[in-house]
Amino acid sequence: MSIRRRDFLKIAGVSAIAGIGGVSALSLLKIKGSEASSYIEDPKTLKGKRWAIAIDIQKFQTPEDYARVINACHSIHNVPDIGNPKEEIKWIWTESYEHSFPSQDYGNPYIQDHLKKKPFLVLCNHCDNPPCVRVCPTKATFKRKSDGIVMMDMHRCIGCRFCMAGCPYGARSFNWRDPRPYIKKINPEFPARMKGVVEKCTFCYQRIAVGLQPACVEASKGAMIFGDLADPNSEIRRVLSSRYTIRRKPELGTNPSIFYIIGG
């Protein structure tokens, strides 16, 4: 059953209604009595082999700039606000330069002020060589072959939290209790999670499937650039080849897909 659901998840076109391992989508499948693969992909689906985001930090100026991006993600994805740092759930948030890039320049007091004081947006890096996928004992965390998105199957996750220990970026959150009462306004288009499973940024696979950019990118008003690393003519490739960018903890060999544009 779940295998079919997974194949199904991989079919971008339907994922939009499916949501994360969506129950509703599964019942839909049963009603129609057809195999997932018989679904036709939405012609609007964005095509890419390895999605990535470049964050232009200079374009984030006011606290509002950050809040808009974070809220865009958290509101549509039913990310709860537990109000307790111990049980916090977050998909995208800010950390200081020093904490985002601890290996970059540990404890350097002389770096430029604008870096030292600047909040950096952090989220799942959708690593090309993701340790979270390597350690997961059930394949509930898996890398989608078609476009490199590191996906979550919340219906398979056993809540062992091995992936949280394995992720060197602190990108993952665990549902220490039922999150539903803590979601301000439930978005019925996207499934809410249950207690006891791990979650994280899913690169808005449900939006990509219908031809939309990730919600955070859209809300950033040009401060975040989304695109396909495998396409030499993509905008992101042009940006990466013309401006100085860094990634978090590159020495670990995870090969992150989130880039930070530092210099001009």
Binding site: H99, S103, Y106, V133, V135, P137, W176, G196
Partner: protein, 390 residues
């Protein structure tokens, strides 16, 4: 043979009742955890493994240590261990059961535990841990039970058993090696990323396990007519001594590497554990207690005159057991998460429900152990033999 567990003295039944009570309390709190979620524990987004996983780690060591009595007896024909191999094997059974239960109570979605088997994932170390642990449980149950049955009938154990004994000897270190691999292969967890982790695990296992066996053997001698034998207990004492020295040596290696290289990410967890970091120091008293217990035990163990005194050996064993329990059953896991991936600090301390659930699991282990030991001892008392040859 099971029926022998049903006939016991008053003390035996009081002990069983006591364990059942603790199990009951643990169960009540587990039900609460099942309904509310793991939020009732002290774990957090930053320290996402805690008491349960630490207990699991420690107990894998206890399980593996059974080999320390099985190996000398079967491979070197060391007769003095003939009477206690069964104690080692049965201890391993109880310990592996506790390991499995601790993994289970740590799961956020326990009802989906079978997903590990339904969707086998050979790139996950957890997959191998599941295999080696269940294999080890099976081997010890098979060997222990068969040997004891033959003994009761007064016949030597069947020849084929030897093959399984040898497999179990090779298998024992694997369970602790694989468990170390759960931790030592994670990028970005500097405290765990050390090639010596598996070796350290084995050294601490082979000292804490036999130390527990010494304590158990002395208890059995006090309460039953079965005497595990002075020589066997002394031999165990020597095993504890050598492996405790090795363990402390390995810990020293870790300290050297961290502090001589002076790489902040490597020193921070040690500083946090033993001195406190940026004002956070919840674990410091415990870690020092562990160190002090280790030193006391080493003094008592290394000096032969002291070690030969059974009372002092018992004290040393208790010290070793608790020292390593703190080190591995607490500090090792928490230290891996402090500081977190952002070099920030969130501290961990177990909650009361969490501790009670853990105590419940320990009690289940001790209940199984008590029943198994009761059977073994009853058989020995029945046969009344002094020299038992497997």
């Amino acid at each position: 043979m099971l029926e022998t567990a049903l006939k016991g003295s008053r003390t035996y039944w009081i002990w069983i009742l006591f364990l059942l009570t603790i199990i009951g309390i643990g169960l009540i709190f587990y039900i609460k955890q099942f309904i509310v979620g793991l939020g009732i524990t002290g774990m957090s987004r930053d320290v996402s493994w805690g008491f349960y996983i630490s207990q699991f780690t420690f107990l894998v060591g206890i399980a593996a240590s059974g080999v320390m009595v099985v190996l000398p007896y079967y491979l070197h024909n060391y007769k003095a261990f003939g009477r206690i191999t069964i104690l080692g094997e049965f201890l391993a059974i109880a310990a592996v059961l506790m390991c499995m239960l601790f993994i289970f109570v740590d799961l956020g979605q326990p009802l989906r535990v079978l997903n590990v088997i339904l969707h086998p994932t050979p790139n996950s170390v957890m997959f191998y841990d599941m295999i080696v642990l269940s294999g080890y449980l099976f081997l010890n149950a098979l060997v222990g039970w068969t040997a004891l049955s033959s003994e009761r009938k007064g016949v030597p154990p069947p020849k084929w058993l030897k093959i399984f004994v040898i497999i179990s000897i090779v298998w024992a270190p694997s369970i602790h090696t694989v468990t170390a691999f759960l931790y030592q292969g994670l990028p970005g967890k500097h405290f765990w990323m050390t090639a010596i982790m598996a070796a350290r695990f084995l050294a601490s296992a082979f000292s804490s396990g036999p130390a527990l066996l010494i304590i158990l053997a002395l208890i059995i001698r006090k309460f039953t007519k079965f005497d595990p034998g002075k020589e066997a207990i002394q031999a165990l004492g020597k095993i504890v001594t050598y492996f405790m020295i090795t363990n402390v040596f390995f810990l020293g290696l870790e300290f050297f590497t961290a502090f001589y290289s002076a790489i902040p990410a490597h020193t921070h967890p040690f500083v946090y554990l033993y001195a406190g970091l940026e004002g956070y120091n919840k674990l410091v008293p415990l870690m020092w207690l562990s160190n002090i217990l280790a030193i006391i035990s080493l003094v008592l163990l290394v000096i032969p005159q002291l070690r030969r005194n059974e009372m002092l050996l018992a004290i040393a064993s208790v010290c070793v057991f608790f020292s390593l329990w703190i080190d591995k059953g607490f500090g090792l896991i928490v230290g891996g998460f402090v500081p977190n991936s952002f070099e920030k600090i969130t501290e961990y301390w177990p909650t009361i429900p969490e501790v009670l659930i853990a105590l419940g699991v320990w009690s289940i282990g001790f209940l199984v152990l008590t029943i198994l030991y009761k059977i073994a001892v009853s058989v020995r008392e029945e046969v009344g033999s002094i020299d038992i040859h497997h």
